[in-house]
Amino acid sequence: MRDGASATRLSSAERPALRAALEMFFALFALDVTRLGDSFKLYGGEQGEHWQVGLRPRDGGLAQVFEQAVIGGARTVERIELSSAGVTGPRSSSRTRKRARRRSMRAKRPAFASERTPATGGRSAAAGCGGRRVLGWVQPRLRVETDLLDLLPRHSSDQRIEAAVDTFSERLARKVLFLVGAADPSVASAAARAFATSLSQSRAFDSVRERIGQDLQSSVALYLQHRANLLSHQDQETLQKRPDGLYRSAMLALYTPAGLMRPIDISRDPLGLGTDYLLDQVPALGNAHLQGSQLVVRRDTTTFVLVIAETAGSPFAGEVQDRAETAIRIATQAAHAATRTTRSLSCSRERSSMRPWRRASHAAKWRCSAPLEPSSCWC
């Protein structure tokens, strides 16, 4: 978030992608080929003592942020080029000359040289004499109403709101969260992938996601259509208290790696207003963090991978529930088969915590017990 004065701060607890970005930076700068190979396809060559390695993201989620990275050097790393997605040609390259040595971190905070005076806010100048005279005559007859919904006929506005709330509530009620867990993170990852694939092939669920960022671009496109009407609370405050803070943040995004953390590229969203609004919509994820492109939670010795699905139809219909139960049972078996292990694999599911209040009294307790061999599964 912007503090309106001089800094942009984002917490890893709220934005697990930051932790993944940090790990990627470490891997790039330390030339950790093993770790890079987990997330990227590596290619490259050498000429004399000089070498060059190219990296392309393995999964779609990472590819939506980074198109490719190139590391070059001789005895040590001399050049790193990061190309963000969405624009042809290289976008951001960092030519580095590094030397490895122990050194204490000295945090010297330089003053920012603002190159722009604060924009003048407030209302426009007063109208001319003629205008005031007209207003003085008309004003007693004017009725000012700022709530546009109040301008609609009472029953009409209620119906629209009711319909919108119903649509929204129904969509939320259809969401089901699954946690697929195993002691070995790689087993949990593979099991979650198999589980999600099986669910998506069933007719019981419309939308199944096990990787973050699968639909990032479609979400961005949706919000960008309405960008003129969307402003995050932080940006509202910044505009009111210190409007040049937006300019400062935009400059930092252009000239530092901070711009690489934005889901919307700078050429489409130079002030970052769309990015800030989009990030506002993402709830804090607590202990969850990104492992590759999967969202995982660790508890004790078990790693759980989150799978999000939506039922095909109302979750309150018995027929939909029956289909879902069958699909979940088959998906759990698929997860076991994919991992080919006898280690304990568990899955659990929770209905969306944002269950519509209106239907809370009708909400079914959707729990079952489905012991599986050779390992146990509770759901």
Partner: protein, 72 residues
Amino acid sequence: MLHTTLAAPAAELAAARVLTGKFVQRRYLRGLDRPLISSGDFILAREYGILWRTAAPFPSEFVLSTSGMTSA
């Protein structure tokens, strides 16, 4: 083959707990013929994170650590 080539520099970098260096960043944007260029130095400390200090065209700091990101 590639792994063999990279083994020596990777081993040297892996042994270092702190890496420092200078950078020149070129940022290419759609609609601009020339890149936006910035330069400065960086410190990468394994236990802490990355401090990216830009000197030109204006001084700024970017910190990416396990607890989050700050740019000022």
